[in-house]
């Protein structure tokens, strides 16, 4: 059981508050806030860290090319190795997995990994959709890309029209329990979610993610450091990445094979045969509300075309659901793009460490972290547990 290589533990997690503009810090200040919190949580200092793996989405967001060079000082990395990962929206997850591979491969004993985005330095629509000459520009942003895929899911699953609104309302309620979440809307009503303007039909404004500044960091360690930790650690039970081409004949864009393959791989490493009963908390990359039922099916938590029923019957909510999804509020409540995947991975680790605060799932022993990117074609996943694999 478990992936090959050195056993790997999450020793510490650090997050910034996510908000539209972190006007009080520089880029260096932003990443240090998360990194220092992760070090403190892991009872480490900079000197204990052997290497840094940093991830973020396009460099255009901050207008800083290969920012790991500028940030080497801020991340206490001078004289150490630093790697910079970029796998589109899944990057936060992939970054954590590259960091884990440095432990699994017995290259290092303690690695700091961090994802960030300071989207307020520019503008998400601009940075994500730079116009290219000779191409007819008719799709704005990610919503224009994913809306048809959601439409296809609705057509084939027969899901009721308001399932997406139910996901959005649930995640925003969850976010109220997470002090780091960007959107805190205590007075939000379900009717307000439903009545929000349609942006990319069938996607309403209320069913999209915000644009956030923020950073998330983790300290990963080898088996000996995990064993020696004073507080609870999260053990890595499985790690997997998969990619597939963007557009080709026969591609199932609703339930991409790369997603299914990645889930099969990661659950198999963790010895999980029935994800729904064996996973206690899920942190899933849901930038548009409908992706919750879609991924529930793709990942094997629900039968094909029946993921929406889990939303409808409250299975994925914190209050009484048997498979709480995105207790942190998810991407729908905070989206510093380059960090969003790592937040999923880190929140999964917090759950099995029993350190998720007000959004803790009681007794969570195994949790699943998930990220995807590109045209739903890049996937990164991990399973973490309270027990050593």
């Amino acid at each position: 059981m478990g992936s090959l290589g050195e056993r790997t533990a999450v020793l510490g997690v650090g997050q910034t508050r996510y908000q539209s503009t972190r006007g009080d810090v520089s880029i260096a200040g932003l990443v240090r806030e998360a990194a220092l919190r992760a070090l403190e949580d892991a009872s480490c200092t900079w000197a204990d860290i052997d290497a840094v793996v940093i991830g973020k989405a396009p460099d255009f967001f901050e207008g800083l090319m290969m920012p790991e060079l500028f940030l080497a000082d801020a991340l206490g990395c001078v004289g150490k190795p630093i790697l910079r990962v970029h796998t589109a929206g899944s990057v936060g997850g992939s970054t954590a997995l590259v960091a884990a591979s440095l432990i699994q491969g017995r290259i290092h004993r303690r690695v700091l990994t961090l994802g960030f985005e300071k989207q307020s330095e520019s503008n998400a629509t601009w940075a994500l959709s730079l116009p290219q000459p000779f191409s007819v520009s008719i799709n704005a942003g990610a919503g224009g890309y994913f809306s048809p895929i959601i439409r296809r899911y609705m057509a084939r699953s027969g899901a009721p029209e308001l399932i997406g609104c139910m996901v959005a309302f649930k995640d925003r309620r969850h976010a109220l329990r997470n002090p780091y979440a960007h959107l805190h809307q205590p007075d939000l009503t379900f009717d307000q979610v439903v009545d929000a303007p349609m942006l990319w039909d069938p996607i309403r404004f209320s069913e999209t993610c915000p644009s956030s500044d923020g950073a998330c960091a983790m300290v990963l360690g080898d088996e000996a450091t995990g064993d020696a930790a004073d507080g609870p650690v999260a053990w890595v039970h499985g790690t997997a990445m998969r990619s597939e081409a963007n557009n080709f004949p026969g591609r199932d864009e609703v339930n991409p094979q790369a997603s299914r393959d990645c889930a099969v791989d990661v659950f198999s490493q963790a010895g999980i045969t029935d994800p729904r009963s064996e996973i206690d908390a899920v942190e899933m990359y849901v930038p548009f509300s409908w992706y919750e039922p879609m991924w529930l099916e793709s990942l094997g938590f629900a039968e094909p075309d029946r993921g929406w029923r889990m939303v409808e019957d409250g299975s994925t909510g914190m209050d009484g659901g048997d498979l709480p999804v995105n207790c942190s509020g998810g991407v729908l409540s905070s989206n510093p793009i380059g960090a969003s995947g790592m937040i999923r991975f880190a929140e999964a680790a917090l759950q099995v460490r029993g350190m998720a605060g007000d959004h803790q799932v009681d007794g969570a022993r195994r949790a699943f972290g998930h990220a995807y990117g590109g045209g739903a074609q890049y996937f990164a996943m991990w399973v973490v547990g309270a027990d050593k694999p």
């Binding site: 992936s3 090959l4 290589g5 520089s26 880029i27 989405a57 396009p58 460099d59 255009f60 901050e62 207008g63 800083l64 090319m65 290969m66 790991e68 060079l69 500028f70 940030l71 080497a72 000082d73 990395c77 001078v78 004289g79 150490k80 190795p81 630093i82 790697l83 910079r84 990962v85 970029h86 589109a88 992939s94 997995l97 590259v98 591979s101 440095l102 699994q104 491969g105 017995r106 290259i107 940075a127 959709s129 730079l130 290219q132 997997a240 990445m241 998969r242 990619s243 597939e244 081409a245 963007n246 080709f248 591609r251 991409p256 094979q257 790369a258 393959d261 590109g374 074609q377 890049y378």
Partner: protein
Amino acid sequence: MREVAVVSSAVHQVEALTFTTDVQLMVPLINQARDSVGLTQDDIGFTCSGSSDFLAGQGFSFVQTLDAVGAFPPIAESHVEMDGAFALYEAWVKLQIGEVDTALVYSYGKSSPGSRRDVLAVQLDPYAMAPLWPDAHSVAALQARRLLESGGVTLGQLAEIAVRSQRNAVGNPNALRASADVTVDDVMADAVVADPLRAADLAAEADGGCAVVLAAGHRARELCDRPAWIRGIDHRVDAHGLGVRDLTRSPSAALAAARAADRAGFEADAVDVAELHASSTAQVHLLTGELSLGDDVRIDPSGGSLAGDTLMAAGLVRIAEAARQVASGDADRALAHASSGPCLQQNLVCLLEGE
């Protein structure tokens, strides 16, 4: 440490890939690297690439280039926004875990559509440096002058390095600047481009790409006659600011070499050839010192990055060239070096050996 080797490679560099996209560039290179050892993508355990959105002028540019791999059925894959040498490092780490035996690594850069020396200014401290738009040639010149005035090297010696590169590059189809009969006087007669550097002191900017296949243990021996074993590989970074560093040194290069040597069991200077990734002759000089390369080491037998420098691929090309020296039997031990950032801020050293 698991034994991992470079078993094949393919390189293409030209002055400008005017009518060719990144994906069209990489299709033949990836296929050539796989075909030459009889592998298809189904046989590849892990794939990793390196590129830069800023060069392409397009966000997520690597997403399109994935089409060159044939990524269906889906593949285990990752991407670094770094030179391909660092993608190779990530793949080497993956092979250390032991779950896969083969890896495909590729990277590419097409800087000709823009002004590369100006694009690179966007790498610098975004508050106090980048707004002054110091171009890459000027930054290289600041370092070169420090070296010259510290007494470590003379303009004539820099010209000798330029001449060595151009002469070695003869016969290398991927070299942009090659000449069998160029002399130090020729180089010294060139106009100064970025005082004190002349055109021949600055790496020849190229568009291009590189694909490399790695394999572990017996798999490597099955796939080729003489694998180029990666005995040691390491990378390190220095501080970013030009003012906080001693520009006549590159501590991260020396440290990466020492760490790679720890793994390899032989020192960086105990090699037959070295391929260096430098953007100027002054940097070649500096690296020769930091890596303690003696007179018996053949430096840049391909011409090095001075003869053809593809941003984001030049480091991986160095590994491919060094591996070829080993595979052909021209060298038993080889050093490949890759760098990133202003004035050799980040450095990777890979020590290769034949059996």
